[in-house]
Amino acid sequence: MTTYEPELIELDGELVDVLSERGLGDGLPVVEPTPERVEAMLEHADGDADEVLFTLQPRAGIVTRRVVAINAVLAGCEPAVFPVVLSALRALAHPAMNIRGVNATTQLVAPMVIVHGDIARTAGFNAGTGCFGPGNRANATVGRAVRLVMLHVAGATPGLGDAATHGQPAKYTFCAAENLDESPWEGYAHSRGVDAPSAVTVHCGEGPHNVHDAEADGDPRLILGKIASAMTSLGSNNAPISQGEIFVILGPEHAASLAQRALTRRDVQSYLFDHARLPAEEFRRHFEELAWAPWMKLVDDDHPLPMTAEADNIRVLVAGGPGKHSLVVPSWGMTRSVTIRVEG
């Protein structure tokens, strides 16, 4: 086993200043990662604290459980959420995620972390009202810990390893729990073949786009029609890159309206695939380079093309509280989401 030990220093001054001088931190106050706090975090780890697990690009910084625990303490995490932070980072290190591209791009992409199952409940995550913020400590700090590791380990420092033109608020934190209690369908992780009591999904894309449909009767055609409209943007990277997924996070009321009309998750995917479309000619006019599936290149200019190559790329889950809103989260494009079991 290869091991790595992070550096221990004597704190001289305010930690936020010490970090700033070293080009570290996210600009917000932090919690001092003392050995005692880090050990308390590692109580929720399974395995050697200093075992090299993987590296994160573009800087190829080494990730060990201790390195993750340090950043989790810094972010203000309580120890019970540690396995979620570690598992989210494992997902980000998966080759399919293309973390090098995700971190380095000029687009404002941020990892979105969705927590599924038992740990969402036991560690105090919010799946309901305000799940994407603000106010819930688990949601806020897990998202922040992931970002701090991107900054400190992966080297995604704005202007250096991260060229995002504007950045975005979701680059501070972007984490919520799936609302399994109010989902009419099978849990998202199970639907992706991850059969575990607790799981985490990471999807790299834009911030959430709101879709508000408050029409009477909860007509699925109106709800899904508006969602399709929000999905159909030439400014999103899904337009020129057909392998990209599009996450649709249905509020419970919208989900209930759809399920009451006997729509399954697959029905929702199919309807959106069929309706979130633009004429091929419009894509061709706007983009010189199109990273499209071969079948899409064959169609005539007037053929309405979907925003992604296949219906299963439209990923549907339920989160949030009362209210007639849903969210669309487009992809950065050259990345695939990863869903894995939560393990320490």
Binding site: M1, T2, T3, D50
Partner: protein, 87 residues
């Protein structure tokens, strides 16, 4: 780390490379070892120290589960210059 260090698992493999390992001292869970070249015919077979240390650690860990790190004193490396200025 309590108890003696069992060096045998590493000794056997290192002997196949013509080198010997002996314990200088055990400081907490860190083992400080001395490398000696036994079989000069294959001096270049031996890994450089920075590669050898993690290899020896992995060889020793099954028999010494509390071992944290291995530090090797390698006579092939030049000793550090004496920082004391000559008078």
């Amino acid at each position: 780390m309590s108890g003696d260090l069992n060096l045998e698992p590493a000794r056997q493999v290192m002997a196949a490379d013509g080198i010997g390992l002996s314990l200088i001292e055990l400081r907490g869970a860190d083992a400080h070892l001395l490398l000696s070249v036994i079989d000069a015919d294959c001096a270049e077979c031996v890994l450089p120290r920075h590669m050898l240390e993690p290899v020896v650690l992995d060889l020793l860990r099954p028999a010494n589960p509390d071992l944290r790190a291995v530090h090797i004193v390698d006579p092939r490396e030049s000793p550090e210059p004496d920082p004391t200025p000559a008078t």
